[in-house]
Symmetry: C2
Subunit: 333 residues, 2 copies
DNA sequence: AGACTGCATTTTAACGTTCAAACGTCTGCG
DNA sequence: CGCAGACGTTTGAACGTTAAAATGCAGTCT
């Protein structure tokens, strides 16, 4: 394994000159640069990252805690991680995974990773209401950025990137409206999570602005399962004025709705329209395909990495728009 | 940020003694050790990993390439990554993520990460038939271990851990048999992949040993979708002697089977039994729940890390048994 | 008493890199 | 001709750690 020293000897220059050839090539005379580069190539030299990090005290590694608790994000976690990796790599960085207990208990792990110089900073996800991590990291002056707002908190401690759930619901409502639906229901969770409330608000706002009814068209599911989605859908279909469009808060609930609708002999995409959220892998493999709101993972990841590694002067709160992926479940009726 | 030097000064010993207190405590007199430890605690000292790695030329980081191509493993990737992280951490190591083009094109990325000392070795997954990575890494003498056998290759280049798909099919068949099923079908893919062939063989072997029929009870799906699973199931149900048990090669195909069965007014778990593979998150949220073969992720991860970091003298090929997670889709009929 | 042994600790040097300062050479200008 | 400044390159030191060798000291054996 070649070192700077060996390259320097080969190119007949000093060690520092080789270092400059890599980190500040403009400082070298063109002919020297060419000669050094030839030697680098010839010896197949690769800078030792540990030595570099020791000297500069920057490891170019970003910590990400792999979630251990069942959660909606899991279904698209591979997409997220891939995007995050790619974004990090485009700046010469990499992602370091670790596990930590949720909440305050996990903070010692974050602290340790940073203190031992395994990472420069963190990308947080699985943000919870009143998440304690943000305040703690800010206090320790450890760089971080959060995927997901901290809901129910008056002051926003630290930068975040999130997807505009309200706008997503709006997209779904308008799409259903354009495909001829006139009574559009919302199948959600209780308002306990900011996420649920956000998406519910978006549905109501969009319906209002289109002059569509909302009364009696919103229903809560107690858990994120097909059964619950089906139960809620059944209840709505059994009402005196049943809806012909369903905006479900998750793909799972939407699949439940699809099942119930099909069970009743109705055809999704013909008799009524159904949309989900997050465009999980399931949306593609069911039939008819489920129209769903895709999170713009590449943009999210790029923003996260940018904010973390090269913080812009302006505001560091980014709300990105989801993208409606249209499939058979919302064919024009 | 405290350094060894500062701790040494505080404890009134040499720098090396503090280093020994951490890496070889048996070398210190108990009272010295206690004194040093007190100083470490007091100054909240954490060893700088970069300096350590520079000196020892071991980074305690393991590279894992996050798959970019749609694949069955994606649905359980979060489980896998969590287990892998936890296993790595139990040996003081961590997982570094990266992206690379598939096949030979990606090898330069592996090479680079290793040459620049960002990782000590690699865990491979998404192993493909005649995967070029194994041979290449072995040639470069870069440590690695593969999750998944290299199929269709006479010599096994390098250590691997895999799940015994044939045994899994066997478990499913025997379970269906115990719950009263007597004609058990296999819903699979074409024999192009080793994985598909393995699971198919297991089904056939188990049926044979139980004296169950197999003729006309195996069917291939062209892709991994609900529609294909449903189509295959329909074809089987329409045969003169329809099966009363279905071993599907994937959860997706099994869900398709569930759908078709339900559509015909039959009740899964009552009129017939259905099993899937991999115990993806979907298996739990459908109704009835899908009986599926869970991959023992914790064991897999532990084996991978052990083989990679502390290679046992004996054979380094581990075939682990999947676990049958029984749910409503195979209630006794 | 002298030599040897074993243990606890310190000293020296090195891992491979980059920063800051110093150096030598060339150029332009009064 | 002498000097300032710019440019390209080198020197010296440091980042924080650990391996290996050296040191000092107490106890044991002959």
């Amino acid at each position: 394994m070649a070192t700077l020293k060996q390259v320097a000897a080969h190119a007949e220059v000093s060690v520092q000159t080789v270092s400059n050839a890599l980190n500040a090539p403009h400082r070298l005379r063109p002919d020297t640069l060419a000669r050094v580069n030839r030697s680098i190539e010839l010896l197949n030299y690769r800078p030792n990252r540990n030595a570099r990090s020791l000297r500069t005290s920057a490891v170019e590694l970003i910590g990400y805690c792999v979630p251990s608790w069942p959660n909606r994000t899991h279904l698209v976690m591979d997409q997220f991680l891939h995007a995050l990796c790619a974004a990090a790599e485009s700046t010469g960085r990499h992602i370091l995974l670790f596990t930590a207990p949720p909440g305050v208990d996990g903070m010692s792990v974050y602290d340790d990773l940073h203190a031992r110089r395994l990472v420069d900073g963190f990308v947080l996800s699985q943000t919870e209401t009143r998440d304690p991590r943000h305040g703690w990291l800010k206090e320790q002056e450890i760089p971080f950025v959060s995927f997901g707002r901290v809901w129910k908190e008056s002051t926003q401690p630290g930068p975040w990137v999130d997807v505009d759930g309200a706008a997503g619901s709006g997209l779904a409502v308008r799409h259903l409206h354009e495909t001829g639906r006139r009574r559009i229901a919302f199948v959600g969770w209780p308002k306990t999570s900011g996420l649920a409330e956000d998406r519910l608000d978006g549905w109501r706002t969009a319906c209002d602005s289109l002059g569509l009814p909302t009364a009696g068209l919103s229903i809560h599911c107690s858990e994120d399962t097909l059964d619950e989605g089906a139960r809620a859908t059944a209840a709505l279909l059994d009402s005196p004025e049943p809806p012909d469009g369903f905006v479900a808060l998750s793909d799972i609930l939407a699949l439940g709705a699809l099942r119930e609708v099909t069970r009743r002999g109705l055809t999704p995409g013909v008799d009524l329209g159904i949309t989900g959220f997050d465009d999980s892998p399931m949306a593609e493999v069911v039939s008819p395909g489920l129209t769903s709101l895709r999170q713009p993972m590449d943009d999210i990841a790029a923003e996260l990495i940018t904010i973390l590694t090269d913080p812009p002067a302006g505001p560091t709160e980014r709300l990105l728009l989801p993208e409606l992926v249209v499939r058979g479940s919302t064919a024009p009726g």
